[in-house]
Subunit: 195 residues, 4 copies
DNA sequence: GATGAATGAGACTTCATTCAT
DNA sequence: TATGAATGAAGTCTCATTCAT
């Protein structure tokens, strides 16, 4: 049981994103997700251990994809400022491109179930690591302030981006999230810049 | 029905904070909150419309207290930088002082139920207004950059503080949250400072 | 939770006996038992931990009643043979008087669930003890053979009675179980008698 | 469909005995039996009508084997007492030799599903007939009491053996079942013996 | 014959809410 | 006001059975 790949596996993940985005976490019954995915209720349990596993997997898959892409893109760049800009840019572009996903990641999955948070922890930590690597490189190459703490700075950068996305998702969304890339970069870069 | 004051009203709010902090949102049944508050299950419905109302009220009461205090304290100060510093300071001090409350506000109440988020929106907006007022004053008095957007900057400040607190709450908490006041201020102030 | 007494507690036990006797263990849903007892499904869980607990309790209550009565009646007698006769007599009378109960005890509850068997073990052991006491007394007073093993003899006496009841329950029941008291006694008494 | 012979047919029967003995009736899913038998789930339905049919067939095959063997062995004997001794002996030897089978026959198959009991009825009746034939012969040749009822006596003999085996299976089995052959015979023979 | 992925009916259980006392 | 026993809707998950390959 619990096959971690396959056409239906993905269909269920995508269905979960859509259903949760539209109905909210608490109103997203397994049967609703199954119907949206075009499978029987029981089929979900062939691919996932239980309902929570669907959510955790959803997060892992989506976040994993993003982390992988982010790492690749950043490797092509040298300048820490450009990397920071790229990070913000990718973050916003990805979430603007898939509003349902944004809704789920920013709002619906901020759940408290110990199990879910635990399952989410690892992929999130991966992402945090990427941010911290950029900061570290900036400091060691002397272009970022040397008096900043790497972990705290990462919290601030992530928290800032996160809240900007959340505000956008919760709003009527009559403005473009990507328009915020430059001003957010502008503020954050200034915060950590030497000189 | 649903009288919004009284000794038991407060007892229920406090019980809810404790129970949710200890058991997590999903494992906090009405009966558990009632037991902790020392009242019968049914009594809760004399003071609150339903379970969600307890949560929303909890947020409103706690957040309202904080907003009121914050506004008072800030009024005593002139300098926007001092106000920003005070804001961060109060935010961290309050949440460090009441870990249960921090857990509930940062983690457990990040729920998705439309109704809860709606009920939370107003008191949160009040807090956002306070932050925005500080930013506005800083800009108009020329000490903050004039090219920053008030709302976006508020999002960044709040998001940064919020994430720092969340990281602390989720951690083993073997460091002091209040030790982060200065470095956070240092970064955020730099981000928005002219010159 | 799990109050072990009260009007509804008994109503549920009696309902369970009836429903299981009529529908068989596997076709006795909680909802059916609840309906028969005239309570809501959820009410069952106020009095019992779960469905298995209903079955185990049923057995304990019914068997406990029988064991208590049996012990009292036997105390009034001196002669081990009379005690054996009384035992068989009570066993058959009780089960003939309540056919539903007989059905449940003899057939339906012979389940394999570890938990159920475990819950049943103690009250059954009590009954076994009573039988063994009679045997012991018979041996020590020299009226029963001294070469018989107490435990094995108990198994044979119980097994014999048990099978006679089972056959009767499974049959069309067009003969009286109590008519078997004398012949069963006659055979068993002979088996263990000295002389 | 439902061919009743073949290598896989037997493999499934044997797998069912093992799985049920190890996991209990309620925890013996078709898929588990299939895996143990080394066939696909669907294959079971090529050899058996449904799950119940597996159980009934299991009983029929095992019991049939025993009944056939018993009849053969008994035919070689003349004396009713010797036949009774042989019967008890075979009963205990067979079940001690195959503990899994004993577990299944004595405990796990004592199910209540009408259909299963019905399917079990015939092979069991065959066995009962053998016992009754011995009793009949004993009575007609004057070595067993003439005042005993054939059917009732069979119930007592079978019930006694059955309970002795059940006690052994349920116990830690730190004694030998075959050591009980002689004492059981001794008691039962005395019960029905003339003189 | 054989497979095993898929099905979907159905069961147990939880828990927010009510209401007679 | 306060109680808490009772309610019953609703949701997750299991598993015997099917059927396209």
């Amino acid at each position: 049981m619990a096959k971690r790949t396959g056409e239906k596996y993905n269909a269920i993940i995508e269905a979960a994103v859509k259903v949760i985005a539209e109905n909210g976490y608490h109103n997203s019954q397994v049967s609703k997700i199954a119907r949206e995915a075009g499978v029987a209720d029981g089929t979900i349990y062939l691919y996932f251990k239980n309902k929570e596993d669907v959510l955790v997997s959803l997060f892992r898959v989506k976040m994993g994809y993003f982390t992988t892409t982010a790492r690749q893109e950043l490797q092509q760049l040298e300048n820490p400022y450009e990397k920071l800009a790229k990070l913000i840019s990718m973050h916003f572009i990805m979430l603007e491109a898939d509003r349902n996903l944004a809704l789920v990641l920013q709002i619906q999955l901020r759940q408290s179930d110990a199990f879910i948070r635990q399952g989410i922890a690892t992929p999130l930590k991966d992402y945090f690591n990427i941010i911290e690597e950029v900061i570290e490189q900036g400091i060691s190459t002397g272009v970022f302030r040397s008096d900043i703490n790497k972990k705290l700075t990462r919290q601030i950068i992530f928290g800032a981006m996160d809240e900007v996305v959340t505000s956008w998702v919760m709003s009527q969304r009559n403005y473009k999230l990507t328009d915020q890339i430059e001003p957010v970069y502008n503020l954050l870069a200034r915060a950590i810049s030497t000189g």
